[in-house]
Subunit: 127 residues, 2 copies
Amino acid sequence: MRFSRQRDIVLNVLQRTESHPTAEWIFDQVKREIPSISLGTVYRNLNQLADGGIIQRIFDNGHVRYDGKMDQHDHFRCIRCQQIFDVHLRLEDITKNIPQDYGFKVTGYALEIRGECHQCQTKETEQ
Amino acid sequence: MRFSRQRDIVLNVLQRTESHPTAEWIFDQVKREIPSISLGTVYRNLNQLADGGIIQRIFDNGHVRYDGKMDQHDHFRCIRCQQIFDVHLRLEDITKNIPQDYGFKVTGYALEIRGECHQCQTKETEQ
DNA sequence: ATATTAACTAGGAATAATTCCTAGTTAGTT
DNA sequence: AACTAACTAGGAATTATTCCTAGTTAATAT
Ligand SMILES: [Mn+2]
Ligand SMILES: [Mn+2]
Ligand SMILES: [Zn+2]
Ligand SMILES: [Zn+2]
C-alpha cells in the first residue's frame, strides 16, 4: 500500500472522530482539505484500510460505517437518535463453548447493544 | 395488516427455512407458487412483517437478510462460505452493567460470532 | 349476498450506496 | 533522472431497495 495524501487524510479524519461515520461524512470532511477529492477515492481508501486491518467496518441497519478504533470493543446503538457509542465489556469468555457445542472455530465477534442513550431518555421525560 | 396470499407465502417460505435468506432468494421461492409476484411486493411484505415483530431483519456485511425465528438467539457467520447459523447462548447478563456504567437503557442486543464452520474447516485440511 | 373501501397487488421507474472504468498523475525505487 | 505500479478524479455502471400508479381484493357493514 502506497502513501498518498488522500489516504492519509481519510485515515486521520476517521481516527480523530469519536463517531462511526459513513463514507459520505468522511468525504465531506476530507473535502475541506482536498476539495477535488472524489467519493470513489474515499471508498477505495476505506476499503483498502479496512482490508489491511487499519480500520474497521461496522454494519448499522444495513448501512456501512467505519471505525478508526481497533481495540476490541462493542457498540451501543440508540434506537431513537441512531447514534453509535463505544462500550467496553469484558466478554472474552462469551464464545468459549461454541467449538465443543457446534464444531465452529471462532475468530471474532461483534456485539451491538440497542436501547436509549442518556440524552434521548432525558428528552422523553421533558416532553 | 390484511391477509393476502402473497404475504402468507412470503412468511411461510421464510419460516420454513433454516437459512437467513435475502429478499431476492425469498422472491425466487415465492415465484414457484405465485409466478406473477413482484419483487416490490416481497420487499413490502418483509418490511411489514419485520415492523410488526413477526420476523427479524438481520444485517450481514451491509446486506439485509431475514430470519423467521423470533426466539432470542445469536448468529455465527462463517468467514469462508458466508453461511449464517443459529447459536443459542445464555447471555441474559451480558449487558447488566451498561445502565450504571454508561447511563444507557438497554432494550436488546445482537451478537454475531465469526469464524469457520465445520464444513469449511474440513475442506481446508483436505486440500 | 352486495356494496364499500382501505389495504393490497404487479410492473416499472426512481433513488441511493457502492463499485467500476479510463486516462492522467505520483510515490517510491533504481 | 527514469521508471512504473499504485495511485487519482470524474463519471458511468451496478445493485439493492423504495416509490409510484392504476387496478384488485380482503374484511367489514348493510
Ligand atoms: Mn467503535
Ligand atoms: Mn437465526
Ligand atoms: Zn439517543
Ligand atoms: Zn463455512
